[in-house]
């Protein structure tokens, strides 16, 4: 676990400058008032039920409660939220499921109540094969004032002019890591953020907001060709991902653990 001194200080500085805050499993940009969440995978529970898990897991309720906690924390710091961006894979099913649809609608209505329908930005992920209730889904969103690109992360779109982008904020890969003490037996998996540089641009990769699974353990020695969902990794190749810094989501705060490749 080694990390370049400069790199570390830079990240610390960037965070000290409050360019962005990592709150729970979300990222908040104080200057623009944008709150971003990724991979809510609403409907996962519905899928489990159809597979015979005959017991409620309260995924929707837990998701809403989690978002409420984040909003309260942001308000407690005296910031206002101008926009909420959902970075794709809001729903789980690739296809259509009635129960899932009603749950997604309930979630979106909850968010719209918080920021207004126009300030809820829905990014289309690879699970969003069609739009819901005529709501607008976008492939990406650029906050021009800060040059921040928000997208799901499974692919780049031709409309994006990367030159004008300073920072990329994405989800899709459900990053997580194992922690294990050297020589120890205990091993635990945690959701994490990946933060750093790619193609000279700042990168923030969000963990999945989804409460039921930790995500893809990126530091396991198994050959990682796909993530837990059997999908290919997104726009950033694994080799480049391994250069990013790991920030593990704890209950109270995020804990920094250096570069992924050293973990």
């Amino acid at each position: 676990m080694v990390i370049g001194k400069i790199k570390l200080q830079k990240i610390i500085m960037e965070r000290k400058n409050r360019e962005f805050l990592l709150i729970g499993k979300s990222v908040f940009f104080p200057s623009s008032g944008i709150l971003a969440l990724s991979d809510l995978q609403i409907g996962y529970e519905v899928m489990l039920k159809n597979q015979g898990l005959y017991f409620p897991l309260s995924q929707l309720r837990r998701t809403i409660r989690g978002i409420e906690e984040i909003i309260n924390k942001i308000h407690a710091k005296n910031y206002t939220i101008s926009r909420i961006i959902l970075l794709g894979d809001i729903k789980h099913h690739f296809g259509y499921d009635y129960e899932e649809k009603s749950q997604v609608r309930e979630l979106l209505e909850f968010l719209e109540n918080k920021v207004g329908r126009n300030n809820l930005i829905l990014i289309r992920g690879n699970h969003e094969k069609f739009d819901l209730d005529g709501r607008d889904y976008a492939d990406f969103f650029i906050d021009k004032a800060t040059g921040t690109l928000f997208l799901h992360g499974h692919k780049l779109f031709s409309g994006i002019n990367l030159k004008s982008v300073n920072r990329i904020v994405m989800g899709h890969i459900h990053p997580a890591v194992y922690l294990q003490e050297s020589g120890g037996v205990k091993r635990e998996r945690y959701k994490c953020f990946l933060v750093g540089k790619w193609k000279h641009k700042g990168v923030v990769i969000l963990p999945s907001f989804f409460p039921l699974i930790e995500g893809t353990a990126l530091n396991s020695n198994d050959k990682l060709k796909h993530n837990d969902y059997g999908e290919d990794f997104g726009i950033i190749p694994l080799k480049e991902l391994r250069k990013l810094t790991v920030l593990i989501v704890g209950i109270d705060k995020v804990y920094e653990f250096g570069r992924l490749k050293n973990l």
């Binding site: 015979g52 898990l53 005959y54 017991f55 037996v185 635990e188 653990f257």
Partner: protein, 898 residues
């Protein structure tokens, strides 16, 4: 409530000489010894046709028949315990066939089920069917010769394999004798049509009861009460079992608990001659350069001397290994035509084929794990080889009983031992067999998962008053002490009432509960289908093959879920050996040997046969005697030869074996102490190579007790050592605890029999074994459906789901009934908390003393503890605390670097 009274008293009571002083005892189900009847008495009421048939086949009635036939004729409940192959089945059926023939002659057979036969072995069902259909055909032939007209007596099999069309046929025309399994019986009792045919069942046979001291048995005990409850007349219970103890408890299991119930118990002695011996492949097990090679030579020698040999190993992988090795080393002697492996992972068809070939005398050798212990007729076996300890005298007897397989024949068995501990174990088990001491079985009590499944089934049949439902359930031996609280927690779970948070979730409820009317009934259109396709108690597992890289030599199997927790270069234990994870390919895991590394990952997949507590105590007693002998040798009172002579007589073994035991024990005696029934020896040892501290506990109580003791102690030590995780390794003969700090003295002081249960509940909280058992319980209680909407779900998916489930359940309540049941199962069925408490009481009463040795080397007895212990981790540190500590380590690292 049942108060146990001593044997003598009970028989006085049974004989109705009831002294006033005994009135204080509340006895509900009455148990009496069965009577042996004369030949005349047995044949007295036999129909001439049946009598003619019987004596055309047999010379005389067997002993079980003398006990059983008249009792069943007189409609008495009876439990018959007799050795394998002693005509038990015909004992049960003779009176029933007789009764049906009498009715058939008078043309009085009705369209209903007269007798139901239940066996836990599906394979046995077809056997029994044949064994019933043939005699009935023969009786028919005799009838035709006498120009007597008989109505057809219909026999049908109903198991999971029965086709849809046959089931449909059955629901129109009832079989007079229904052959079924515990699971299918529950389905029959839940189906609309068949229930009507079952209401007049007059006889109910439960075969192979000794295989039912588990949740399948619990499930069946509730089905039997369901049968009793719907019956217009009492279905006479006939229980058949191999040698088993305690018979009174088994009898109560069969007949249930109620004032108006009584049952006779027939304990038919083992009247085969026993020819049994302990053999060691080499003279000195510890110094010989290749005991493995000699082992196979010995096995080969034994096979050559006999016509047919059945070899029992304890594991599937050993089964394969032995077959392959014999074929390899003796290619001219063994081939596919004369040797075969038989174990539960083989396909059903393949197993049937092997059984058939064994019966026909085509095969010379069959090597099996435990799969041929039970029931099915496998023909004439000359020799049974018990390779490695069978771990309990009852199991040893059961295996030995496969040899001969005709009453009055000699049962010939040979223990072939693998190491010195095995040698002692086998010798002591042999002693127990010869002296007729049998380990005791227990049935799980108040299992809430099985209860949930059966209540669901009952609610599907009809609407119930809850109080009547509870009364019916409490008549089952396994639920006679079920609390109202537990009962209603299951009603709450089934009716979808999980507290405020989940009230909305009507979707998930299985029954409705009307609080006003105090009634329950089924909920949802799919209820019956869900019940029928998910009935049962046997958990499903999926396995991955472990192979040596790159050769692909088969080493064993591990649970699929266990694999998912491993990463490359992890070291794990399999079959007592250490391997390192190299790569996976399909459903195969390729490994290399890693003997000199310590495991990096705990293993819980090795749910091996545990040594019975009774045998363990017997070994402790023997150790105590040996300790005394060596002391008197030291003082010159007894010579080496005298002690060896004593061992040969005491354990009924040959001199060379006794010498080996002598040497082993003498080494231990000279090293420090021989741990025994009065002394628990702990060795504190620091492993320099691994930089690890060990505490080695020589506690010969079997792994079920050691599991409980080690986890409770490990938990206390971990708590005292600043809440750090502790590694434990558990075996039949003791356990070890490893960690950085090991404050043992304080932990031992705090370990008390009274607080053991609480401690263990905390200690298992984060273990894999609890998660795994929870999955089984969730599946039995239908929280996770194996089969839903016409599709079967893979075990892997079930495992993943159970992971979500246990978190969701814990959020609702730590006392959620199915979680509570998983804990009970771990503590009572997997571990043996009851006997662990007994051991702690001995410590508290001073009957057992603890001695702590600091040692630079483990003693001879302890060495195997280290090598064979199956490790697990007691997780005390929670996930967040671990995260913080790891982060601190990382920060320290950075500060060092910067």
């Amino acid at each position: 409530m049942i108060i146990h009274i001593s044997e003598g008293l009970k028989y006085i009571l049974a004989g109705s000489i009831l002294p006033v002083v005994f009135i204080v005892f509340i006895i509900m189900t009455l148990i009496k010894p069965a009577k042996e009847h004369s030949k005349e008495e047995v044949e007295r009421e036999l129909h001439p046709l049946v009598k003619e048939w019987f004596f055309s086949k047999f010379k005389d009635f067997s002993l079980p028949q003398r006990y059983g036939v008249p009792a069943i004729r007189d409609r008495k409940n009876i439990l018959i315990s007799a050795p394998t192959g002693s005509t038990k089945t015909l004992t049960a059926f003779l009176s029933i066939i007789n009764y049906l023939v009498i009715l058939a002659e008078k043309n009085e057979l009705e369209n209903k089920v007269y007798a139901v036969y239940i066996s836990p072995l599906k394979a046995l069902s077809n056997d029994i069917y044949k064994n019933l259909v043939e005699p009935l055909a023969e009786i028919n032939n005799i009838a035709e010769r006498h120009s007597t007209k008989l109505q057809e007596i219909k026999v049908s099999v109903r198991t999971g394999d029965t086709s849809q069309s046959e089931r449909a046929k059955m629901s129109k025309k009832a079989p007079h004798i229904l052959i079924t399994t515990p699971e299918s019986l529950a389905i029959v009792l839940t189906s609309k049509k068949l229930v009507e045919f079952m209401q007049y069942t007059e006889f109910c046979i439960v075969d192979e009861i000794h295989a039912l001291a588990n949740k399948r048995g619990v499930h069946l005990s509730l089905s039997l009460e369901r049968l009793n409850e719907i019956s217009k007349i009492w279905p006479v219970k006939i229980g058949l079992s191999a040698t088993i103890e305690p018979l009174d408890e088994v009898a109560k299991f069969l007949v249930g608990i109620s004032d108006d119930r009584e049952i006779e118990v027939a304990k038919v002695p083992f009247n085969k001659e026993i020819d049994i011996k302990v053999l060691s492949p080499v003279k000195n097990l510890i110094e010989h350069d290749n005991p493995q090679r000699e082992l196979y030579h010995l096995i080969h020698q034994l096979i050559k001397e006999h016509n047919t040999t059945l070899i029992f190993t304890n594991t599937r992988s050993a089964t394969e290994r032995i077959v392959n090795y014999l074929k390899d080393k003796f290619p001219t002697e063994y081939g596919d035509d004369n040797i075969a492996a038989h174990h539960s992972s083989l396909s059903r068809d393949h197993r049937f084929k092997i059984e058939e070939e064994l019966r026909n005398g085509k095969l010379r050798v069959v090597v099996c794990s435990t799969s041929l212990e039970l029931g099915i007729d496998i023909g004439y076996i000359d020799l049974v080889i018990l390779l490695g300890s069978p771990k309990a005298s009852s199991r040893a007897l059961q295996r030995l009983g496969r040899s001969g397989h005709k009453l009055h024949d000699t049962a010939k068995g040979r223990f072939v031992v693998l190491d010195r501990d095995d040698l002692v174990e086998c010798s002591v088990i042999q002693k127990e067999m010869i002296e007729g001491r049998i380990d005791k079985v227990t049935f799980p009590k108040n299992a809430l998962d099985v209860l949930a499944q059966q209540i669901y089934g009952m609610a599907i049949s009809r609407i119930w008053k809850v109080n009547h439902l509870l009364e019916t359930i409490r008549k089952s031996y396994c639920y006679s002490e079920l609390s109202r609280e537990d009962f209603f927690s299951i009603i709450s779970y089934l009716s979808g009432d999980y507290g405020e948070e989940l009230e909305k979730n009507r979707v998930y409820r299985k029954i409705w509960y009307d609080v006003e009317e105090k009634t329950i009934g089924k909920s949802g259109k799919l209820a019956r289908v869900i019940f029928m396709t998910n009935v049962g108690t046997i958990p499903e597992e999926s396995y991955v093959e472990v192979k040596l890289a790159p050769s692909g030599e088969h080493l064993g199997v591990i649970d699929e879920n266990f694999l998912s927790r491993m990463k490359k270069n992890d070291v794990f234990v399999l079959g007592g050996k250490k391997y390192i994870y190299r790569y996976t390919k399909g459903m195969n895991l390729y490994v290399n040997s890693a003997e000199h590394r310590s495991p990096t990952i705990p293993s819980w997949f090795s749910e091996m046969l545990p040594l019975s507590f009774e045998t363990a105590l017997e070994i402790n007693k023997f150790r105590e005697i040996m300790n005394e002998k060596f002391k008197s040798k030291k003082s010159g009172d007894e010579s080496k030869d005298e002690i060896i002579k004593f061992i040969t007589e005491h354990l009924y073994i040959e001199k060379n074996i006794a010498e080996e035991i002598y040497n082993y024990f003498y080494q231990q005696f000279n090293f420090s102490d021989i741990p025994n029934s009065k002394l628990l020896l702990i060795e504190r040892y620091h492993d320099l190579q691994q930089q690890k501290n060990y505490l080695l506990f020589n506690s010969m109580y079997g792994r079920r007790v050691n599991d409980a003791l080690s986890r409770a102690l490990g938990y206390l030590i971990g708590m005292a050592a600043h809440k750090r995780d502790i590694e434990v390794g558990i075996s039949d003969r003791g356990f070890y605890i490893a960690g950085d700090l090991l404050p043992i003295d304080k932990a031992i002081k705090e370990l008390k029999s009274g607080s053991l249960r609480k401690l263990l509940e905390a200690a298992i909280e984060r273990t894999d074994i609890l998660t795994r058992r929870f999955r089984h319980c969730a599946s039995r209680s239908l929280m996770i459906l194996r089969s839903y909407k016409g599709r079967r779900k893979s075990v892997g998916k079930q495992q993943m789901k159970s992971h979500f489930l246990i978190h969701a359940v814990k959020k609702i309540s730590e006392d959620f009934p199915i979680l509570k049941e998983a804990k009970r199962e771990v503590l009572e069925d997997l571990m043996d908390i009851e006997n662990a408490e007994r051991v702690l009481k001995w410590l508290e009463d001073g009957k057992l003393k603890i001695k702590l040795h600091d040692t630079s080397l483990p003693s001879p007895f302890s060495l195997n503890l280290l090598l064979q212990g199956h490790t697990d981790l007691i997780r005390i540190e929670d996930k967040q605390a671990f995260l913080k500590r790891m982060h601190q380590l990382y920060i320290n690292e950075i500060e060092r670097k910067i």
